[in-house]
């Protein structure tokens, strides 16, 4: 069982040591560029010329390529087939039997798949190189409530345990004769004896965890400090502003081009 619901891979790389907010700004800029600029090849270029090289810098390119490929490939195949074959009236490129692939459909699929590839690869790069707790800490520093960030980070760590407990309850109830397979009615009947223990035990856990964090002064009015020092520099701060400027330019270009 994994210890946390996170994709983060610990590496000693220049990408890993960046301030999480810089990586947030980079992610947002790349996504904005891919969606705001109309040409279909833009997304593919960003992935090939920026995202993949950055993943190599972060020493996670294998994981990025593997995960992105797994997610995007099935989608890409279905989009090309559906858009190509069922575009409606358009310029036929080639035919298979009575069906023909349309140029306009293929072009649209090319654009759509490119954007999906961009979204998946950019978020994957971010998740592989950013620890969730440091991200939350950085967000707390810019004003996000500490209780909210606590909820997000604990959900990431506790979710695998929740899944494991659910599996244990299923096995326990099965050993008592509960039938969990079969037609939909049988499965529906099995829901209550499975869900109730899970919910009740989780509520008990929540109360105990609340006591545990209170015992460690979670609601203290003292300004909180942090064991982890999140790196930041004037250079990174300037870089973030540059990213914001690039995003504004991309959006501006899109608005002007449309008009």
């Amino acid at each position: 069982m994994s210890t946390a619901l996170t994709l983060y891979i610990d590496r000693n790389s220049r990408l890993h040591v960046l301030n999480p907010l810089t990586k947030v700004a980079l992610t947002a800029t790349l996504l904005t560029a891919g969606f705001a600029l109309p040409e279909g090849w833009i997304s593919y270029s960003i992935v090939l010329l920026i995202v993949v090289p950055l993943s190599a810098l972060g020493r996670v390119w294998r994981q990025l390529v593997k995960a992105t490929w797994k997610i995007v490939l099935p989608f890409a195949v279905s989009v090309f087939l559906i858009q190509g074959l069922f575009w409606g009236s358009g310029t036929p490129l080639f035919s298979i039997g009575s069906l023909s692939f349309k140029l306009e459909g293929i072009s649209f699929a090319f654009l759509s798949v490119g954007r999906i590839l961009l979204v998946v690869s950019v978020f994957m790069l971010f998740a592989l190189t950013t620890r969730p707790d440091t991200l939350m800490l950085a967000l707390t520093h810019i004003g996000l409530p500490g209780s909210f960030t606590y909820i997000v980070v604990t959900a990431i760590q506790i979710a695998p345990r929740f899944q494991a407990r659910a599996a244990t309850i299923v096995e326990a109830q099965r050993s008592r004769g509960l039938e969990t397979e079969g037609n939909i009615f049988r499965r529906a009947r099995a829901l209550l004896p499975l869900v109730m223990p899970l919910v009740l035990s989780s509520l008990v856990d929540v109360e105990e965890r609340a006591i545990a964090i209170e015992a460690r002064a979670f609601n203290s009015s003292q300004p909180k400090t942090s064991l982890i020092k999140i790196p930041d520099s004037r250079g990174e701060s300037i870089t973030r502003w540059m990213f914001l400027l690039l995003m504004a330019l991309a959006i501006g270009y899109r608005v002007i081009a449309k008009n």
Binding site: A212, R216, T225
Partner: protein
């Protein structure tokens, strides 16, 4: 050094409970009735009793969670390190009385990815500077024997290891009283031994400890005094060797040491020396039976 042989024991009462009666919000019957006791600084007080006797409620009362977390109706007075638990805030009280309870898993905050960071969680909440945090983490990891676990995920540990991390997380806040509510009830024998070793070390260092526990043989080894609760009331309060061998314990469904039970039976057979105190631990039993044979 005091008579008990512990460092820094004074005769100052650090926990003062007067006529404590408490009823949970959803209950009609009080969970505790008329409890009065004082715990001296550096003392180890064990709390025993059957399920539902009020052990956990008493622990929560000392740590301030009764009444601040559980609300309900509290009568009487509880003072911990000079703070009245009803008028002081829970944030102030948890700095005086550190609470560790049964379930090692739910005591992991979930907010940290390594043991090293987990231990510092309480210090972050109280605004301790980073360099001081690091010093205290190193010290506490040494005290609790978890230095080799520093880089591991708190969720990748055994129950005994998690409970030691929970102990470290509380000890690092330097409470004046350590309140333990059956800290080994969900642990295997190895985990139990690991946790009791830490508790024993803390006691030797002069820490004031209140511990609710079922394992009377361990209690006999550590406790200065024992409070036996039954149905929310104080049944017995006195020296460990006197309380743990009292015939009133089994009458009220409170477990006794197997060695005590064996010796009681041996008395009937004339195998236990007349007038010799009943044993609680294995060592006492062996000595007694050897004397009886001689």
């Amino acid at each position: 050094m005091s008579e008990s042989g512990k460092i820094g024991v004074s005769i100052l009462a650090i926990v003062d409970i007067q006529g404590l009666t408490y009823t949970y919000p959803t209950s009609e019957k009080p969970a505790l009735r008329g409890i009065s006791l004082q715990v001296e600084q550096g003392e180890f007080l064990a709390i025993i009793g059957p399920n539902g006797a009020g052990k956990s409620t008493l622990c929560y009362s000392v740590a301030g969670f009764v009444p601040h977390f559980f609300k309900g109706k509290l009568e009487g007075k509880v003072q911990v390190a000079g703070l009245d638990t009803q008028s002081a805030s829970l944030n102030d009280l948890v700095l005086k009385a550190g609470l560790v309870f049964q379930n090692p898993f739910t005591q992991i905050s979930g907010a940290k990815f390594t043991v090293y960071e987990e231990i510092a969680f309480g210090l972050e909440n109280t605004g301790v500077p980073r360099e001081e945090m690091k010093e205290r983490i190193e010290r506490v990891m040494g005290l609790t024997g978890i230095a080799d676990l520093a880089k591991r995920s708190p969720y990748a540990l055994s129950g005994g290891q998690q409970q030691r991390v929970a102990l470290a997380s509380i000890l690092i806040m330097e409470p004046e009283v350590l309140v333990l509510d059956e800290p080994t009830s969900q642990l295997d024998p190895i985990g139990t031994r690991e946790v009791f070793q830490v508790i024993k070390d803390m006691s030797k260092r002069g820490m004031t400890i209140m511990m609710a526990e079922h394992k009377v043989e361990w209690v006999a080894e550590f406790a200065d005094r024992v409070l036996a609760l039954s149905d929310g009331e104080a049944l017995l309060l006195g020296k460990a060797e006197e309380v743990l061998t009292s015939p009133r314990l089994p009458e009220h469904g409170i477990g006794v040491s197997r060695y005590t039970t064996a010796a009681r039976r041996a008395i009937q057979e004339g195998l236990w020396p007349t007038g010799r105190r009943l044993p609680v631990t294995l060592v006492e039993a062996v000595e007694g039976f050897q004397r009886g044979q001689a």
